[in-house]
């Protein structure tokens, strides 16, 4: 298998800050740390080319930089793409993230880099690339290139890839089912966990929820009777033909549906496509998932000003937090543009 390696101006030996505007340069002969990477990848992978680009150029002129790099990569055959390691260098890390994400999306090959946990590129790009946990500075070069090469070799040889924590890269927010790890069934594992908890011993949950940033509560609605309130839901209630083809699990999109002329969500017109529970009760009465009928009742009573003309929906089961946050941002923008005052969000 062939691989291509991206590094910045500094590690190519061109120069430091003064050369950070360097446009992409393509080498058919390996330079800088690409040689070390290639030596470690042999014989399973051959690193064929080094791409060098200034950190400012890729971060400030991303579109142009990617265009130039794609024009080069389009002519090459490669099965793996490397960038870095970027240590704690912020712009280099972001640059590695930009190129890894773009290459992965365009060429659908595994993309591998390495950064220190403090590098801002980690938070932004850990979902898009395998980012191995690296040292703080360039003295860790050999130490950081080693796991990148080892992991790439596993991919090249088609070996089984282990979860992020075991391989050593930052978790990408992907959940995998592992039937009976170590041959121990779930009932035994959960009791082991419970006994540890009772005994005050450390234990590890199998469903890790990343630690959460707290959002300060928004100010309350001043006057409900004048407020426009939107219904948002992860219940999977959609028009019966699911026109947007929202996935029944691990959703990657949301839909919005007009309810301006509806007093409720009738059976046969709407249904839930949620694969996380028995849908019979919600399909029979979709308002059990998205309570439009009750909202209309309070609208008619004058308790609230208006039910917003569209409801927003996705499926909450298996959906990663990264996607949920993306949906939330996109929906929030629409709600703001429409002048919606508040939201009732039903989840299952």
């Amino acid at each position: 298998m062939k691989a291509i390696h991206y590094i910045n101006q500094f590690f190519a030996g061109i120069g430091g800050e003064e050369m950070a505007d360097q446009t992409p340069v393509f080498h058919d002969k390996l330079i800088g740390c690409s040689m070390m990477l290639n030596a470690m990848c042999k014989p399973d992978i051959e690193v064929t080319n080094t791409i060098v680009c200034g950190d400012n150029y890729i971060t400030n002129h991303t579109e142009e930089a990617l265009k130039e790099i794609f024009a080069f990569l389009d002519t090459k055959e490669f099965g793996i793409f490397f960038a870095g390691p970027a240590f704690m260098a912020g712009r280099y890390g972001v640059g590695c993230g930009i190129i890894c994400k773009a290459v992965s999306e365009r060429y659908h090959v595994p993309v591998i880099t390495s950064m220190n946990e403090e590098n801002p590129g980690v938070e932004e790009y850990k979902a898009a690339a395998y980012i191995f946990k690296g040292g703080r500075k360039a003295t860790f070069m050999k130490q950081d290139v080693t796991p990148m090469a080892a992991f790439a070799k596993k991919i090249a040889k088609g070996e089984k890839l282990l979860p992020a924590a075991q391989e050593g890269y930052f978790p990408r927010g992907i959940r995998m089912e592992i039937p009976q790890p170590d041959g121990i069934m779930a009932a035994d594992r959960v009791i082991d966990m419970l006994l540890k908890k009772i005994n005050g011993e450390p234990f590890q949950t199998e469903l890790i929820i990343p630690s959460m940033e707290k959002i300060p509560p928004a100010a309350p609605v001043k006057d409900l009777s004048k407020a426009t309130i939107a219904l948002v839901s992860s219940s999977g209630v959609v028009p019966v033909d699911n026109p947007d083809r929202i996935q029944s699990a691990s959703a990657q999109k949301w839909g919005k549906y007009n309810i301006a002329d509806r007093d409720n969500l009738p059976e046969g017109v709407y249904k839930t496509i949620h694969a996380g529970f028995d849908p019979a009760a919600m399909c029979a009465v979709p308002d059990r998932g998205i309570p439009l009928d009750a909202m209309r009742y309070f609208e008619k009573q004058g308790k609230i000003g208006k039910v917003y003309d569209w409801f927003y929906v996705t499926v909450g089961t298996g959906t990663t937090q990264a996607f949920a946050a993306k949906f939330g941002k996109e929906i929030a923008k629409e709600l703001h543009d429409a002048g919606v005052d508040a939201v009732i969000l039903t989840s299952t």
Partner: protein, 79 residues
Amino acid sequence: MGKEIERTGIPVTVMCNLIDVAKTVGSNRMVQTVSVPYPLGDPELSPEAEWQLRTSRVEAALNALATPVEEPTVFPSKF
């Protein structure tokens, strides 16, 4: 999702069954629902009782939207 909407200044009441999960993910206004397969209903109840249940929970959620909160708060409902 609710968090990202709330971040932009729009108050959100999250209606869900697993209140602890809602708390963990950082919801600020919460009303507990009946169950996972039928959050706002109950096929075992008479239509009248189910309607009372649904409107009661939704009313609690609406009232929550008009109530100032300092920290994650669960709002009770009558039914």
